[in-house]
Symmetry: C2
Subunit: 471 residues, 2 copies
């Protein structure tokens, strides 16, 4: 196949990156051309590895001059194919992995400034060294990088209290499609001087430029954590428990995860070293974590007792040790793996308004299981954020992946229709990328879609930044 | 003067607004053509008063069709002329005052949905009725409306804990310049489906469309408040006290205001009913408020004692009653009025990175007082946000407003230069409007400015939305 990127353009890009900062070795490129789950496969003639912002800007300017599309890539932990280049080798890959410096930590101002290639876990460690915390974490923390987390507006298990990346990004530095550097890194809490352009780069999936650094908000590390597990009659009772905890704790509820009994049973069935946190069986479970400067165990126990008296909790336990707390969290963290071992499923990362979530969960489950007889829904996730991982599994005992595969598109269309009708989002956390591009075009708010297209055309008139993603 | 808006266009706009929803009576228009401080004067042939979103959209479509500029106006409490039409009567005024319904309150989901014309105080009251709080307040709360607060990304005294409007707006509904309605009102905590367009309307100063409603985040009403006043050696010590309080309280510091002694002295001199909170004189003062579900008085007293032992506090008091707390707050709230009575001044609403703020405050004060002998700086405000009201007063005893008036432009240019050099913002809270348009063009980040201009041209190609403001 002829290389769609002209040789002269590749030469210009290599020159812009500088000696030692590029590779066209197929073996070096290969692991970056497929996502970690093996679902998206791309091709590219060249990998660029800039070490600083000026080089990144030079690369973008050269690409603009020669009309070469660029695909920025972080830790390659995405779930929607957003960081994988097109399969026709028409784009050049730009890995931000070598921009991996933590530029500054300001414990008094509670701001840490990290380059795009810094791995999330290294941010956690750096914050901990000054007795602070960067309150965003997710399963891929050992690989995911700041640039990717910003560009996808990542979430995780602490969003309830601290928000998504959008709330935690005090400033960014980025190279815009014309090669200009956006200098908005000073981390001002207040700045009303024109449109807040950085908000477009946050969650922009690399389609409006390349994030090179971010100023991240820290919080003082909480001295105490209280972790509990409750068996509840249903999602509505869980929501009532959440409201009770929020009010009693003054906003110190850090996580509130809803898990159906089928989820707990899959963990117990497929993975070693787990035991049921409570004695009896309960239709739904809640894992809750509070964090603050003083012990919250008694407050959590009191709230659970009061909720039990109100009928919102059937049975509950407060972790008495760090080990017990870790065991409770491990059930939630390993639920996706237990699900995988059970067999194939269609995954959905959706959000609905919090108040509508209990009703939606029950109604959507019933609708899917009726329209696709045998299919089993496992809906779990971040109740307080209105964010569910709404997964639809093959019928019990089915091992042929085609059973679910043949139905996947129809199931997803139904789930996304129901979500849209409920005023929700077809992508709560993971973004659009390649995976949900058609669904966004089908179901997105028309006014929002036309504004998105107008902005993309205005800032990236050649359409060179991460082509084929999102829009 | 010939009316610059053609009669046929005015007729079309009246038709779009509907009978009873417009006025061309000069007496009705007059109070809306000047800001409350009397600094900006405009003219307009027509006032439109839509009662709902569909009518607002019809107005915008008619304006687009006939090429008529529109100026949206809320409570007319702005400080930068953003809601006043141009003086040449070339634009039509659109007041959102009649869209004043609170559409929904969801205490479990902690979201309140209000139309653009709802007055802030009415949102406070509605939230309180369900034992919640909308944690944004400012002096103009009895007049300022939600649409204006969103469009200017308003701040206030609780930003430290809860953020500006941007952090408190979970969703918006708005009419875009082409007349399409942006439906993003469901208040999702997580939604990664394309660029977050609403972020451009927040703080967009009406230049990208008209906000018609917003979904606002509530918090459970805190049961206890602790208010204290401390005399401190300087801004650096104040910052150390803030860090101590934040850590000890687990993020329950709601306000932290820095006041120089000259500010306190002006209040005592010009306004009745005040007394100095502490016995001795101190160069700087701090007013602090904590809020939470349990009493925080002891925690505040302990922190102040520990800070005194560390040399960061010289003397301090914790309010023992609601009346005493109110008296302390009144000093801060009436400081601007005391300043006005002292005589004319040049005002600046600036922000610098928090960690840089103590050094900036002292250095910028010295620089201004050196370059303009006799001028006196009063810098006070929201230390934890890095946001200062940096006001420069005429020399002691000077009553002729020309003394400061002749120097105002040069003083502001110097202050803005110093702020820009420190990585700060020339408009922390108030916005750009007409007042700071030239300074933004002079000092703004070039990449940001070109992105702003490209987005404005893309979404409002005729330049009809709030012309002459911001850009």
């Amino acid at each position: 196949m002829a290389n769609p990127v002209p040789r002269s353009a590749l030469a210009a890009l290599k020159l812009a990156a500088g000696s030692g900062n590029w590779s066209d070795d197929a073996a070096v490129l290969a692991p970056r051309l497929v996502d970690w789950r093996g679902k998206f496969h791309g091709a590219s003639p060249l990998l660029l590895l800039p070490r600083d912002t000026a080089t990144t800007a030079a690369i973008v300017r050269a690409a603009a001059e020669h009309g070469v599309p660029l695909v920025p890539q972080g830790g390659n932990t995405g779930l929607v194919g957003g960081g994988i280049p097109p399969a026709d080798a028409s784009a050049v890959l730009v890995s931000m992995a070598r921009m991996d410096r933590i530029r500054a930590i300001d414990p008094a101002g509670l701001v840490l400034t990290a380059e795009a290639g810094v791995i999330l876990e290294n941010v956690h460690n750096a914050a901990r060294e000054v007795d602070c915390e960067f309150p965003l974490s997710l399963g891929a923390k050992g690989s995911a990088t700041i640039g990717g987390l910003v560009s996808t507006n990542a979430g995780g298990v602490q969003v309830l209290r601290h928000g998504t990346m959008r709330a935690l990004v005090a400033g960014i530095e980025a190279v815009l499609p014309d090669g200009q550097v956006l200098h908005q890194l000073t981390g001002l809490a207040k700045d009303n001087s024109g449109y807040d352009i950085k908000q477009l780069l946050i969650g922009g999936e690399g389609t409006l430029g390349i994030v090179t650094a971010a100023a991240l908000r820290l919080v003082p590390a909480p001295a105490f954590r209280a972790i509990g597990w409750a068996g509840v009659p249903g999602p509505q009772a869980a929501l009532a428990l959440l409201a009770r905890l929020r009010r009693a704790s003054g906003g110190q509820v850090e996580s509130f995860e809803l898990i159906p009994d089928i989820g707990l049973q899959l963990v117990l069935r497929h993975l070693p070293g787990h035991r049921a946190p409570l004695g009896g069986r309960h239709p739904w479970h809640v894992l809750v974590e509070l964090a603050g400067p003083a012990s919250l165990d008694a407050l959590l126990a009191d709230c659970l007792a009061d909720a039990a008296a109100a009928g919102d909790v059937v049975d509950a336990v407060v972790a008495a040790s760090v080990a017990q707390a870790a065991a409770l969290w491990r059930i939630r963290e390993e639920l996706p793996e237990a699900e995988r071992r059970e067999g194939p499923a269609v995954h959905h990362d959706i959000a609905v308004p919090v108040a509508a979530m209990p009703g939606f969960t029950l109604a959507a489950t019933a609708r899917v299981e009726t329209e696709f007889p045998g299919a089993r829904v496992i809906a779990f996730g971040h109740l307080g954020d209105g964010n569910l991982h709404f997964n639809v599994r093959a019928r019990e005992g089915e091992t042929d992946p085609r059973w679910i595969g043949d139905r996947a598109a129809a199931i997803s269309a139904l789930v996304h229709d129901l979500v849209t009708a409920a005023g929700g989002s077809i992508s709560a956390e993971h973004g659009i990328g390649v995976l949900k591009r058609a669904e966004l075009a089908r179901l997105g708010d028309p006014a929002k879609l036309s504004a998105i297209r107008a902005i993309k055309a205005a800032l990236d008139p050649q359409g060179l930044m991460n082509p084929g993603k999102m829009i």
